[in-house]
Amino acid sequence: MRECIVIGGGPAGISAGIYLARKKIGFSIITENVGGQTLWSGDIENYVGYQYISGTELAGKFRAHLRDFSMDLKEGEKVYRVMHDRGTFTVTSDRGEYRTKTAIICTGSRARELNIPGEKDFRNKGVTYCATCDGPLFAGKNVAVIGGGNSGLDAALQMVRIAGKVYLVEQKQNLSADRTLVERILRERTCEIITNASVEEISGDRFVRGIRIRNTVGSRAERILNVEGVLVEIGAIPNSDLVDGVEKNEAGEIVVDCSVKTSIPGLFAAGDVTNVYKKQIIIACGEGAKAAMAVSEYLNLHK
């Protein structure tokens, strides 16, 4: 039986792995990829130590740091289930089953969908949830970026460099992104910012040809935007389905205390999958470090 299994290899899982390795705790990391959502981040300008670094580059540095230690890293493996039974855990993946005394859930979150007509039909036919990946395909075309948070503005700023016209559509009255990003997008002449607007439908033929939006206040007037790309950046939902019987909040996030303990003794969670205040790479790293130290303390107490 292992002392610990870390599920997920994003910033939280990597940081937990580094701390566990230094404590010489016998553990495995099981993850689909190393880097997690950092891989999908465009430009990163708020990670301490780097004034500017791309997401892929930072993920590469995370991997290199992790590789400095000898550990059991199971990459390309997906965990389906974490079961709890009399103080131990069984972790089931697409490759096998593992037993462990403690587990750290660092499974992060995935893109939230709009849930409107046309969205499913045109997925990958103009609708994308990864501006970093698919953005360049819309070179010279008109696109709509949905969401006025940091990821939405990142996507819009990426697209104004290569697309035709860029519409930035936000449901609320204000853009919630960092002030520096908002100031930058306001300077872009090819970007039209439409606030107080909800997306009602995505339409097209074989590919997206347009979206219908509606004013959420006052007139409730509708408008058609002729776009061939719809980049959806409206937040995330936690990947917390793999574990039952643990306390979660209304958003489905695993509830943790300030030492990242969950409601189940021996089960810890870190990063975007939890109710931690704000989802940021640097915060996930800190939470992962806390998780490893909390595991160490737990193992010492339950020898």
Partner: protein, 78 residues
């Protein structure tokens, strides 16, 4: 007989990077098209795969959408 492999990718896409790393580590030779900068290859990819998501891999005429490790392994017989 070596199979003819084409990869349609963008420079920024992590799945494209993972796919190419996977092919490299298995010593599979492939043609690498950047559909972000090459409009003709972009149209070719969209026409052949019927969609706009990257990466797309073509192995001896068979199209595989996304980084589908198992499908690629099976098609390459590795």
């Amino acid at each position: 007989m070596e199979k003819k492999v084409k990869v349609y990718a963008t420079a920024t896409c992590p799945y494209c990077r993972m796919l190419k790393d996977f092919l490299d580590s298995n010593k599979i030779a492939y043609e690498d098209f950047n559909v972000g900068t090459d409009p003709a290859r972009r149209e070719e990819m969209i026409a052949r795969s019927g969609q706009m998501g990257v990466p797309v891999t073509e192995i001896d005429g068979k199209i595989i959408i996304g980084f589908d490790r198992e499908a690629i392994k099976q098609e390459l017989g590795i």
